[in-house]
């Protein structure tokens, strides 16, 4: 080879893995890097635009919105819509705001996420470290369950909940989310544990640890990254679910999304868009928080498990 290849350091665009510990000394050294940042910022705008619309409109009086200035910044900044959405907006007969529903959602989401994650982890453990004949087919069947449209299961699920005595109760709601969360959580953990050294399990067996002990002491403590992925996934899905929340809850257990929907979806009433947007952002805050806090572990978790064979 006559011409020496570029060294990693001089490349404008190259996988991070190539660049080693090198850091570019400043912005805009090369046209390619300028282009890179332009693209990144452009896509940031794409992702932030709807949020911009929501935030901006949640901070202006309703008059400004209906007068047509939906994209503009508020002329008259106000936090009143936020206060209203939190504690005084009408989401039912009583003007309670979204506040009481937060608790309902949390009571439902936390156990549902915990159960489906834990059971998913156990399933993944069995399916990779204690395999048996037909385990693969079983897993396939389990995974196919992820694709069942929820609208379809509404009526039979209602019947089953009735038979189990869980109709219109928080445990019933938790159960439903648990049932339809298992598929994905098993998928995540199975793929993660498949890459987990089987020798460790053997070593623990020889050390005298039993089935559960190995799980608790050896696998689970090393499952942090994938647990983050699974929790984020389940939390987001369950927190944002409306269909099950509306159908299987009772007057005293309606989750956040149902309240938000009630706030937003009135058909023949006055629509207070500013309050709607404030409520929407508020309702999304827990999930946003999860993403922001756990975001960096998220990629790491995906890396450790679910995208590998």
């Amino acid at each position: 080879m006559s011409t020496a290849p570029d060294t990693p350091d001089t490349r404008a665009i190259a996988p991070a893995a190539l660049s080693g510990t090198h850091k570019t000394s400043g912005l805009g050294l090369r046209p390619a890097r300028i282009l890179l940042y332009v693209l990144l910022v452009f896509f940031c705008l794409y992702y932030l635009l709807p949020l911009y619309v929501m935030v901006v409109n949640s901070l202006k009086p309703l008059g400004e919105i209906t007068a047509g200035g939906m994209m503009a910044l508020p002329k008259d900044w106000t936090l009143a819509p936020w206060g209203s959405a939190w504690s005084s907006a009408q989401v039912g007969v009583e003007a309670t705001g979204l506040r009481p529903y937060f608790l309902n959602s949390i009571i439902m989401v936390v156990p549902a996420v915990a159960c489906s994650t834990l059971v998913g982890a156990l399933n993944g453990y069995v399916l990779t470290k204690w395999t048996f004949k037909g385990a693969t087919i079983l897993f396939g069947l389990l995974l196919f369950g992820c694709f069942i449209p929820f609208q379809m299961v509404l009526i039979p699920m209602a019947r089953m909940l009735g038979l189990m005595g869980l109709a219109g109760s928080v445990p019933g709601l938790i159960f439903v989310h648990f049932v339809y969360g298992i598929g994905f959580s098993t998928l995540y953990f199975r793929n993660y544990y498949a890459a987990f050294p089987t020798e460790l399990v053997k070593a623990a067996q020889i050390d005298g640890a039993g089935f559960f002990r190995i799980f608790w002491r050896i696998l689970l403590p090393s499952s942090g990254p994938i647990a983050v992925v699974c929790v984020i996934w389940q939390f987001t899905n369950i927190w944002n679910d409306f269909l099950f929340g509306a159908s299987f809850s009772d007057f005293d257990s309606q989750p956040m999304t149902v309240a938000l929907n009630n706030l937003v979806q009135s058909s023949t009433g006055v629509k207070e868009y500013n309050v709607h947007f404030a409520g929407a952002i508020m309702a999304a805050l827990p999930t946003l928080l999860v993403y922001i806090v756990a975001g960096r572990y998220f990629v790491r978790g995906l890396m450790a498990g679910s995208v590998k064979g």
Binding site: F43, L138, P149
Partner: protein
Amino acid sequence: MASSLATLQVGELEMSYLDTAPARGSVADRLRDALPKLVLSPTVAIVAVFVYGFIAFTLYLSFTDSRILPSFGWVGWQNYENLFRIRAWDTAVSNLVIFGVLYIAVCCALGLLLAILLDQRIRAEGFIRTVYLYPMALSFIVTGVAWKWFLDPGIGLQAVVQGWGWTGFEFNWIKDRNMAIYTIVIAAVWQTSGFVMAMFLAGLRGIDSEMLKAAQIDGASTFALYRRIVIPQLRPAFMSAFVVLAHMAIKSYDLVIALTGGGPGTATELPATFMYSYTFTRNQMGIGAASAVIMLMTIAAIIVPYLWSELREKKA
């Protein structure tokens, strides 16, 4: 050392009598052997009832005269015959094809692009990554409204750009029956491409850097490096992304309801909205069930071969 060895020996005696194994074939022993399957069995039972049982139930309903509630008068294939006479169903199915293909393709392409861009040791990576990821956290009940406004030519992008002086600018897809489905794609891509980006980013970070160095020494250009070395190695990430995206495409419901309500006309109807509307708002549970069965069969036709190839391969 000798003394310490002596104590070790004593310890050994203790240990070997500590856990005398139960006699072979005892109940406890058999329980121990069956434990993994026992642990799995609740899941198996749940899936058998709540997935496959319900599928069977729906299949049965699709042959009955159920209207407002399930009823059990057998009507044979009538619901299916009616289903295929309904224009909106054709629209829904062809929309799903357009939507599904575009959505998966664009999400993958954009996700990959963003992942590659983010993988350049850039500044503020954490922040940008969060920006790309956050839409996944939001429910479409309301982001749908924001999108609806943004896409609305009267108040959204078109109005703003025209307000800047480019009066010829047009972006009224959401009002156009032939283009509206693409606005659904735009919003759907917005929601999930960040997630796909994270998957690809994870894939990129997992590639052995020595291999990349080797390829560089072989004289590969950046483009060739990605096309020939990096992207082929992202196959598992593509596969995972496919499962997640396919599952979302098929279940897309909130999105359509919030953005277009299936309109203009029935131009953006999808099978999920069709099924919901026939089962619940139109009191045609039989037809709804028939559409659900067709939907499931379509899903199975796509997913089962994929699962088959993936799982078989892993076994080998």
